[in-house]
Assembly symmetry: C2
Homo-oligomer: 119 residues x 2
């Protein structure tokens, strides 16, 4: 079920590398990579899970409201992280030229489905 | 000079709270807040500067290329952080309903001017 949602997000976003549903503890529930890729998405998500936890904590301390989304753009990739529940997030990685807006929209659209399946 | 660039970014982005030009060490060079605001932007930027440093380091370690931009969306605000040089970044804060796309565009547009003035 989770793999179908991740597949929909990756296939419908133009220029996506893959997506992973992961706990803030760095343990993945499910992932979807359509192609062999030099980039290890799971490692990327694990490395960023601590940072995401830190951002979430900071948002709460500063009373900015709950963290919903974090995007990181580098020279080569765009990583969009969407909080699903207090324990899980989805990380979608795109090539730099990928459709960032479409990816964000699809993550938002699929959040309700993922929340329902997770709780 | 820096204040004029920050003012242009804030005034031209619809729904912006303010902007700050800051070192990764959490020390601000310049800031621009058009209105009295409950949110202390400088505190927000300081709190996030460590996180940004961590993201930058992780991007390098994972060979994703240099970090260019980080966006954080919470229930109340959107914070867009743009790397200017290896030492400085600009943090633009918008209300949640603000024009995220315009803010990103203006930060990109003004980067060259800021780089020139900083180095």
């Amino acid at each position: 079920m989770f793999d179908q949602v991740l597949q929909r997000i990756v296939d419908e976003t133009g220029g996506a590398v893959g997506a992973v549903l992961m706990g803030y503890d760095g343990i993945a529930i499910e992932q979807y990579f359509p192609a062999e890729e030099a980039l290890d998405l799971q490692i990327v998500a694990i490395e960023y899970s601590n940072v995401i936890k830190e951002i979430r904590k900071t948002s709460e301390v500063l009373k900015l409201g709950n963290m919903e989304e974090v995007s990181i753009k580098t020279e080569r990739f765009i990583i969009v992280i969407r909080a699903i529940t207090s324990e899980y997030f989805v990380a979608l990685t795109l090539y730099r030229e990928g459709n960032f807006g479409k990816g964000r929209y699809l993550l938002t659209r699929e959040t309700a489905t993922l929340v329902e399946a997770l709780v």
